[in-house]
């Protein structure tokens, strides 16, 4: 069965490594914070200016001066730091953040990503996404494999205006985990539980590489 958004977040959480600083985008990526594997410690950076983000505050304890990049009220853990936007993006551009996870509308087989603009529709802006994708060494895209019309979001080339070029290394969707190869192409790494390779082939319009037996993801409930 295809994963739901929580399932995608759980699978991506398995990619976290002890000691990493991580930036999570809005949407599915935000959920990842709930599924950090036991025994590892990661710290979350929010690009509006905090390292060491904690959970949402208890009702009545919200502080208007303490929000995340999604403008939600948050709390700070012991050892947290606040900083200005220039230093925040110094961390990002300077590759001090080990992992960035963000959503996408399209990913191409050479690692281009489009996630900020649909021609003809109101454009809200790229926020920090262009800085993040142009800088991070390690970027995972979290998204549904197909759009609402059932069309593949893993394409030979992006059709929408780009957010960044040749930057995405890994995509985790409701159907599969795929590596974007340096020479181009999506290499199928894992299938969602109960999802067949044929289903993934049918849902992928970019070049798909399948070698040997493709294991099922192991996702705890």
């Amino acid at each position: 069965m295809a994963l739901d958004k929580k399932g995608i977040a759980k699978r991506i959480a398995q990619e976290l490594r002890d000691g990493w600083y991580v930036n999570l985008g809005i949407g599915i990526p935000t959920l990842i914070a709930n599924y950090i594997p036991q025994g590892i410690e990661v710290e979350f950076q929010s690009e509006n200016g905090i390292l060491g983000m904690g959970p949402f505050p208890y009702d009545g304890e919200e502080d208007a001066d303490l929000i995340n990049a999604g403008k939600q009220t948050i709390t700070a853990l012991p050892g947290a730091v606040y900083f200005d936007s220039a230093l925040s993006f110094a961390m990002i551009r300077g590759q001090h953040v080990q992992l960035t996870v963000l959503g996408a509308m399209e990913v191409s087989e050479n690692g281009d990503i489009a996630n900020w603009k649909i021609p003809g529709r109101m454009v809200k802006g790229m926020g920090g996404a262009m800085d993040l994708v142009a800088s991070a060494e390690n970027i995972i895209v979290a998204m549904m494999h197909t759009n609402k019309k059932g069309e593949s979001k893993l394409l030979p080339n992006c059709t929408l205006p780009l957010t960044g070029v040749s930057c995405i290394k890994k995509v985790v969707t409701n159907l599969a985990v795929l590596d974007v190869l340096p020479e181009g192409g999506f290499k199928l790494i894992e299938r969602a539980p109960g999802v067949s390779v044929d289903e993934i082939i049918a849902a992928t319009s970019g070049k798909l590489l399948i070698e040997g037996e493709i294991p099922e993801m192991v996702i705890e409930e």
Binding site: S46, E47, T73, D84, R93, M126, G127, M130, T163
Partner: protein, 232 residues
Amino acid sequence: MNKVVANVKEACEGLESGMTIMLGGFGLCGIPENCIAQMVNLGINDLTCISNNAGVDDFGLGFLLQGRQIKKMISSYVGENDEFERQMLSGELDVELIPQGTLAERCRATGAGIPAFYTPAGFGTEVAEGKETREFNGKMYVLEKAFEPDFAIVKAWKGDTQGNLIYKGTARNFNPMMASAGKITIAEVEELVAPGQLDPNQIHTPGIFVQRIFQGEKYEKRIEQRTVRIKG
């Protein structure tokens, strides 16, 4: 080096139609509420505003949009604002979208006497169109330039009469870089104290960058996305 002005009216003297004005804040967090209200009162228009966001319909820069005082917004993200959307789609409002880190760095460059720098953000996208690009160590970068704002308006938590500022939590955001970037920088603070009351080790914006400072009359500090967890 007393930078104190009597009130928001005096602080905003010289703001005129057609000017380019930087305004600190991220979302509704750390925005100069009192000065924005005064800009509405002044009725100035044709403004170019450089601010990471454009407020919401009934708060922050949304007030200036309601009065059609803004000609152009330079921001990284402008959602959450119906009037903004209407003016943008109708062509009344010019919008320049800039990656958030580039926006922050351009503000810093402005204050720091750096006319231009290279950043990887936006390479290969429409943001880089018409801009010079260049390779360093095998990676491609875009040349980005400093701004030329007339005024910068920032909001701090505490300030002293010499213009030294301390921000609180994530309300810091763009305020320090913008404070350094104004030809004239206006700082509104929640609490104005005497020199020596702030630890000299712990000033975020040294007073040299600030020309006018005052204690804001009242701060609503509206929350845009109230998210809580339930005790249990």
